[in-house]
């Protein structure tokens, strides 16, 4: 009993450290910003960093905790982004207050992404391994393609949809076309703020960390470690895997809405396969199943290309080399042993969650 409560305390401390890092990072950035010490390019990165952190944390729930490789996470971000933008224009008069509208839009984005998550998850989660990966990739591409030829307009009568052209929307006087096929969405207010991003990160951390440490979370991890054994003790695979998948989609949708609101326009091709891969890179580099690692990796790797601007056009080349070297170094037996000896004990938790994660 004593040991159990000890473990609980350790977990609490662990979670507090994670929250602490985020809060301190937020305060430090606010402080530097107030002092004017932030370059404009870095300032523009603040909201995207929050979005990518949420994306990485939510993808980690699927890839690290649930153990299913998903290559279409950007698809859910896309659904959230575009439904959020449409909501923002439609609710312009109803909710004039910016932050309140942003909140509602993120909520709507999250709901739509969640619905997409259920539609995708039910068939996808029947498959295994690489086949599951390719189907999530396929869904991501399909979502991108559909949004690419979707036209949505808003006027006094409500929403108008079309898949052919802007003219076919038949908008009344004073109506605006929000999503214009391959052009994407334009002409909406930039509502995103760094504070909103910070709050979204905290909310997603609360959701994900609580889910992981709940009964459902343990069931999800049991299914990851040994599906057959878990099913034989009565854990329903589809239910719990779907729970992780949809939660992840919901968070990605909210992040997508926030991301879109940070810019004046957004196109479907922003959320393509490369974006999915980018987020997957954050998750793997941060450590599978390690939420804190995802946060740090997402923040550092979003800022890194900006930092590398000093070396100009070679920055992506360096980024690629760094990526390869980090992967080789972290999987090198000698280096691993060295770190294991240095951080003996402290690493126990990380090791446990990494064991047997997604193939």
């Amino acid at each position: 009993m004593k040991q159990l409560s000890g473990r609980k305390n350790k977990r609490l401390l662990d979670n507090l450290i994670t929250y602490g890092i985020v809060v301190i990072a937020f305060l430090v950035v606010q402080f530097i910003q107030a002092g004017g010490g932030l370059s404009s390019s870095l300032k523009g990165q603040l909201v995207p960093i929050c979005c990518y952190v949420v994306m990485a944390v939510s993808l980690n729930l699927v890839v690290g905790v649930s153990g299913e490789l998903s290559l279409g996470h950007a698809g859910f971000m896309s659904v959230g982004a575009f439904s959020g933008v449409v909501a923002s224009v439609a609710l312009q008069d109803l909710i004039p207050l910016g932050p309140a509208r942003l909140f509602v839009c993120m909520l709507i984005g999250a709901v739509f992404a969640g619905i997409a998550g259920i539609i995708v998850g039910v068939p996808v989660l029947r498959l295994r391994g690489d086949y599951l990966a390719i189907v999530t990739l396929a869904f991501g591409e399909i979502i991108k393609n559909i949004i690419n030829c979707l036209y949505i307009g808003v006027d006094g009568n409500g929403l108008h949809f079309s898949v052919t052209s802007e003219m076919a929307l038949n908008l009344a006087e004073g109506g605006t076309a929000v999503i214009k096929g391959p052009m994407g969405a334009t002409g909406y207010a930039k509502l995103a703020t760094f504070t909103a991003g910070f709050l979204l990160v905290i909310v997603s951390l609360v959701v994900v960390l609580n889910l992981i440490h709940s009964r459902a979370g343990r069931a999800i991890m049991a299914l990851r470690d040994n599906r057959i054994a878990a099913e034989s003790v009565g854990i329903g695979a589809t239910k719990y895997k779907l729970m992780a998948f949809v939660t992840s989609a919901v968070l990605a949708g909210a992040a997508g809405a926030l991301y879109a609101m940070n810019y004046g326009s957004i196109a479907a091709k922003k959320f393509d396969f490369n974006t999915s891969i980018l987020v997957l890179v954050f998750v793997v580099l941060g450590g599978m199943g390690n939420i804190r690692g995802s946060i740090i990796a997402a923040a550092v790797l979003t800022v890194l290309p900006e930092m590398l601007r000093a070396v100009g056009e070679y920055r992506m080349l360096i980024y690629a080399v760094v990526l390869i070297l980090v992967m080789i170094a972290t999987n090198n037996a000698t280096i691993r042993q060295f770190f294991a000896e240095k951080l003996h004990g402290a690493q126990e938790d990380g090791k446990m969650s990494r064991k047997g994660a997604a193939k």
Binding site: V63, L69, P123, R126, L127, R128, D130, Y131, A133, I134, V135, L137, A138, F139, E141, I142, N145, I146, N148, C149, G181, P182, I228, F273, I277, L280, V281, V284, L285, M288, E313, Y314, M316, L317, Y319, A320, V321, L323, I324, M327, I328, T330, N331, N332, A333, A357, A358, K359
Partner: protein, 295 residues
Amino acid sequence: MLLGFLNNLINGISLGSIYAIIALGYTMVYGIAKMLNFAHGDVIMVGAYVCFFATGSFGLPPVVGVLLAMVVCTVLGVVIERLAYKPLRQAPSLAVLITAIGVSYFLQNMALQLWGSDPKSFRSVVPTGSVSLLGGQISVSYVTLVTVLACVIIMIALTAFTGNTKLGKAMRACSEDKGAAQLMGIDVNFTISMTFAIGSALAAIAGVLLCSTYPTLMPTTGSMPGIKAFTAAVFGGIGSIPGALLGGILLGVIEIFGKAYISTQLSDAVVFAVLIVVLLVKPTGLLGKKISEKV
């Protein structure tokens, strides 16, 4: 109506043949190394660039250009395998996947630095012209003929190679069980290197054929056909050589038909939708082996 259908079918088979050749590279590497080599699409792009400069800037004959592209890609494939993938032989497969993505970024950006981002207009390695069929109602261009022919020859050669030669048998042994293959005296590392060499040489051919049919060449040229071919490999059952052919051709035909009869913009969505339906009915692809789970 029927003529249009036949024309689309021919175009589809031509595009499908290119996908099939690329998919072979994916499927062979997956079969042996159990890794998704995401950099494969970019090797295609490198092959096309090499051929472009060999025939365009140095005025070499097309055959020499293709051979040169094959040599360069083979060396590139082996070097990539040695430097980036070999140290990760024992690592979890996601780590290898991310490394492959790193290599893909590297190749794309290297091409961007070396050759610039402006699209180059690729001059076909096959003479222009066409064969008329059905009294001139349907014309099949030489490029299409060469593409389909190349695909058929490669398929037959590969099947014979994996079935009869010593190295081919070693490859099959490695894909069955690496440990057991090693105990039988097979040099596993050498076999894997050779698989990468063959896959990359095929990628060079695919790159040249792809750009001969669709003549815009950019550093990102390889990535979308790469993803499609990967899809084709899964479609047919990854790890299976006839599966790659079947998946590639079907994918090409579906894409062209989708473009012609449904919507140009939605053709990719149609391709992926068909893939999803197929995988839901046959979870290991059309010709994939069914793996029973052991407790």
